[in-house]
Symmetry: C2
Subunit: 213 residues, 2 copies
């Protein structure tokens, strides 16, 4: 049975998954790349998923072909808001995005589907989390559905009880402001078992939430 | 050289160190005892610090005679606010508190010093963090000063740059509301090295903050 998963969602010790403000030059705001150094060492620009050990294992989670579709919020797709003034923007990732699957982009302003290189297509949908999940399952070819972010999108899906497994990375820095992953999720531990492991290399904590049965 | 330390400060994954509301019956509000089960197993009521392994080691931190005085906020001493209507209240801990040292209680409403059994005395002081620390050092007999809580008191001392070492326990539950430890401490990682270890028995994370040199 295919599952709904979250992977590599990195937050600061105070729960912020992005800083502010989000701009074209700095999608993570004042967080810059600090939440993702555990998988992308700063001394290896463009090196991508190059870590070894537990960080390397968690960086690869869900990138093994098990995920058949990704759902993301519009702010993960781009910095624009409101109606599209043009449709030139094809996402942050250039002509060949890393997803290599269909991607459902949640937006109140749908536009035609984009087909890019490597198998990635962006489908723009104005829908509730449950409705979007139905659309995504239809595109997933029986594989897992990843809720890819940003944090408010993940929060909405978790709050709606739609997420089966979630990998959250707690980075020991204090951002102080930004978009919180945890807001409104009081009592989450009643629905999930939580396992934590610390990476001795990077110092981050990898938390795995699995739905209780 | 004596240091200023914080020990056994437990917070939820979303950063709350107490729930709400604080009452005479439930000092931790809706958090109840959940933030402290790692050191006080719920099946051993009144058992105190009974854990083994890494939880037991961290539960004993600072209770080995190295601490000569504790500083606490008024809300850690009692649930009252404003002027004291009577001075019967002697703290949450009964006639023999566990501190066995002088304790400086921060309050805008000073009252006479209380001397209780076992060596604990409560000194009521209306002072800034830096001033209170001077008072505390004068009572510490050359030993360490512990900032004992609550969270807003710890936050004030950390923000003022007065804390040398801090042991924080992150419990994998989401309280959703209460008093946050982290608010206003953006960039704390620039001043402290942070080490994290997970307890395999309880599942909590023990974080040790040590001032960078």
């Amino acid at each position: 049975m295919s599952e709904v998963v979250v992977t590599q969602l990195s937050v600061s010790l105070d729960g912020y998954a992005t800083g502010e403000p989000q701009t074209l030059e700095q999608p993570m705001g004042h967080a810059t790349g600090r939440l993702h150094e555990w998988m992308m060492p700063p001394d290896q620009p463009g090196g991508g998923r190059t870590r070894d050990g537990v960080d390397g294992a968690f960086a690869a989670l869900g990138w093994d072909g098990s995920v058949g579709v990704e759902i993301m919020g519009r702010r993960k797709f781009g910095p624009q808001s409101g109606p599209w003034t043009d449709e030139e923007w094809q996402g942050w990732w250039g002509p060949r995005p890393p997803f290599e699957t269909p991607v459902v982009v949640l937006t109140h302003h749908p536009r035609p589907t984009l087909h890019l290189e490597g198998g990635t297509s962006f489908h723009f949908v104005d829908a509730s989390p449950a409705e979007a999940l139905e659309v995504a399952r239809g595109l997933a070819d029986g594989r897992d559905v990843r809720v890819g972010g940003g944090p408010s999108t993940v929060r909405d899906f978790v709050a709606a009880g739609l997420v089966d497994r979630m990998h959250v990375v707690v980075v020991p820095i204090l951002l102080g402001r930004g978009v919180s992953l945890w807001e409104g999720l009081e009592g989450l531990e009643e629905r999930y078992d939580v396992e934590t492991v610390v990476s001795p290399a990077s110092g981050v904590s990898h938390l795995t939430f699995v739905t209780k049965h």
